[in-house]
Structure formats: structure tokens, C-alpha cells
Amino acid sequence: MTEDRAATRGDDAMRVLASTMDAPEFTSTSFNKLGKPLAECRVAIVTSASLHRPDQDRFVQGDTGFRAFDRDDRNLIMGHWSPNFDHSGFQLDLNVVYPIDRLQELADDGVIGEVAPRHFAFAGNQPDTVSEIRLDTGPQCAVQLNADAVDVVLLTPV
């Protein structure tokens, strides 16, 4: 019965659309095996949900940059420009996008070593080639992750 209603099948439509779009190609796949137990690793989250604090610059349309925030920050705004997905989940519980409290619980339980001091957000709606992120802002973010001695990055898409 829902097929006749205007707002239905949004996720299906997006998944079909995305599967037909060009995607960047990589001729090789780097693969880093952990050199120590996860229980000794420092873990950071990087999300494409366009999260930012109120005092930071908003993401503009076509923004290829990233924002860094502290592990204690919870007053985050989802500044994503795509109207194609649900925003209510994040409003209800930021962990469904940015599982920072879950990560702290894993650190408290000794599953991971430590929650990284900073976490990062990019904008998820990018040109198909994502060349700016691949060649410029992504490597810049990697420098900052390495400066924070991060061992593992969990990437959460929006």
C-alpha cells in the first residue's frame, strides 16, 4: 500500500542511484595489519555526516574539507547538504551516526586501548571522483590522525 505515497522508498531509490554512479578506482589496496592487540590501540571515528560544532564553520555546498572535534564534544550539528536521507536518527541519538559513547564504553571495558583525543567529519555528498578528498584533504586528515597516534579508524558513512 505504501508504494502510492510520495515519501516512500527513499532508501531504495538512493541505493539504486548510488550503484549506477561512477566510483573512484584504486589499482592497489593498502592493508595495515595491527602490530599490537586492539586492547592497546587508540581508535578514532571519521564520519561523512558533515558534523560540526556550533562554533565551527558550517559545511558549504561542495565542501571538500573536514572538521575536527574533541572526544568530549556532544553539541554537534549534522550539516549534511543531501536531503536524501533521514536526519531524525541523529537527533535522537548521535551514537547512531557517531558512536563516541560506545567507543568510550569499549575503552572502559578494555576492548580497545583508548578513545582518540580528536575525531573528524567530512561531507558525504561529493563529486564522483572525490579527487580533492583523495589527494588533498584526506591526506591532511591522515597527518592529523597520525599526529594523535591513532592506530585504528572507524569510518561511518552518511
Binding site: A7, A13, G89, V96, L103, L106, I133, R134, C141, V158
Partner: protein, 227 residues
């Protein structure tokens, strides 16, 4: 996300991608993927369900045990819920105002309570909360056939203004329904099918298309699959 995984691995950092779109992740091919068929916008699946989120994270971190690139599916699918949420709307107050304008004015108290409680708001890309009724007034005029070049929209950027209106309604509505958390598309279904604001945005968008306004000016005002 999958592209960033390649970049970070190149820099010596181990990565795990929680992929919402398995087909895209397969094409881009980062070394560790947990494909999760969850509603888009909810990569951990279920808001407010810490146990479920931990299940996802446990399987994700287990991928670090593999000695070579690995692609797994999370076994549980979370379906999107596309029935309109149940949320009462304010009664008509000013019969001379367009319905959407009147409606938005009536939601300001709920919106302010939400901001007070959360300490943060997504409204403000292009307009302030107090400008929402004025923006809806312009959209109402466009919907009625007024030429978009003749009636200026507060905030000017149609896409940003529509985000602001949607965020204003989302924050107010969640305040009104309390613990009755909506499913993933329930808010959107309610907004576009039930509220005057959502219906006005859709009508204004159709009018802009008919007026042959520039494509980016109207298309991205709402989700691409909406007419």
C-alpha cells in the same frame, strides 16, 4: 568513506568501513568493510539501542583479526519505516495567513523547548528560526504561481532554506512526541505528507520546475525521489 579508508591505510592507519551501500563499497574496495543494510543516515542501525550498536561494533572490530582484505555483511537487516509519524500540529490561529505560515508560527514554542533541552540546533544555514514563517510565505506564493524572480526568498538559497525548515520541524516534532521515537523515514513521511510546510515546499518546487528555474535551484530542495 571507502575512499578515505584507502587514503588512511596509505598513511599507515588500519581502517574499518561501516558501509551503508554495499555495492559502492565493493567497487571502491577498501580493505575492511562491514556492510550494514540499515536505514540511510543511521550507520549504527538503531538510535537509542546501545546493545545493538555494540553488536555492530564488535563485528566491525573483529575484522581487524583478518590477515588480508575482508568484506562481511552484518547479518541483521534494519528496514526503514516509511509510515508518517504521529505528531499533532497546532490548530489554525490566523485564518488570514497561509496555512504553512500559521502552522510554523504555532510550532515555535516546541522548537524553542527543543533547543533549550539540547543546547544546539541545526537551523541557521540560511535563516534564523524567526524567519521560517516568512520563508514559507514566499514558498506559498511560488506554489501559487508567483514568479520566483519577483518574490524574494529570505535567505535566498532555496536548498539551505528548505534544510532549515525541515530541521525546524524535526526538532519541534521530536519535542512534541517525546519518547515515541520515529522510524527512519517516519519524520519525512509526516513532513511531506501531513504538514502544510512540507506540502508547500513540494508545491513550490513543482512550480519552480514549471517556471523553468535553474535545476539546482529547485531539484535539491527535497529528496530526489520526491515529486
Amino acid at each position: 568513506m571507502s575512499t578515505l579508508a584507502h587514503v588512511f591505510e596509505d598513511a599507515g592507519i588500519a581502517t574499518i568501513v561501516l558501509a551503508s551501500m554495499a555495492d559502492v563499497a565493493k567497487k571502491v574496495g577498501p580493505p575492511r568493510v562491514l556492510a550494514c543494510e540499515f536505514p540511510l543516515g543511521r550507520p549504527l542501525g538503531k538510535p537509542g539501542d546501545a546493545a545493538f550498536q555494540h553488536q555492530v561494533l564488535r563485528q566491525a572490530f573483529n575484522l581487524l583479526e583478518a590477515d588480508e582484505p575482508i568484506f562481511e555483511h552484518f547479518p541483521e537487516v534494519v528496514e526503514s519505516d516509511e509510515m508518517p509519524m504521529a505528531c499533532s500540529l497546532p490548530p489554525r490561529d490566523d485564518p488570514n495567513a497561509p496555512p504553512a505560515v500559521d502552522e510554523a508560527r504555532g510550532l515555535i514554542s516546541a522548537y524553542r523547548r527543543a533547543v533549550e533541552r539540547k543546547g544546539v540546533t541545526a537551523v541557521g544555514r540560511a535563516i534564523e528560526p524567526e524567519q521560517i514563517p516568512a520563508a514559507l510565505d514566499t514558498l506559498h506564493q511560488w506554489a501559487q504561481g508567483a514568479a520566483w524572480k519577483d518574490v524574494e526568498l529570505p535567505g535566498k538559497n532555496t536548498v539551505a532554506v528548505c534544510h532549515d525548515i525541515r530541521a525546524y520541524y524535526l526538532e519541534a516534532a521530536l519535542e512534541l512526541v517525546g519518547d515515541l521515537a520515529p522510524g527512519s523515514r517516519s519524520f519525512d513521511a509526516w513532513f511531506y505528507e501531513v504538514t502544510e510546510a512540507g506540502k508547500t515546499i513540494l508545491e513550490a518546487r513543482r512550480s519552480l520546475k514549471t517556471q523553468e528555474a535553474p535545476f539546482p535551484f529547485w531539484f535539491y530542495m527535497v529528496a530526489g525521489h520526491l515529486e
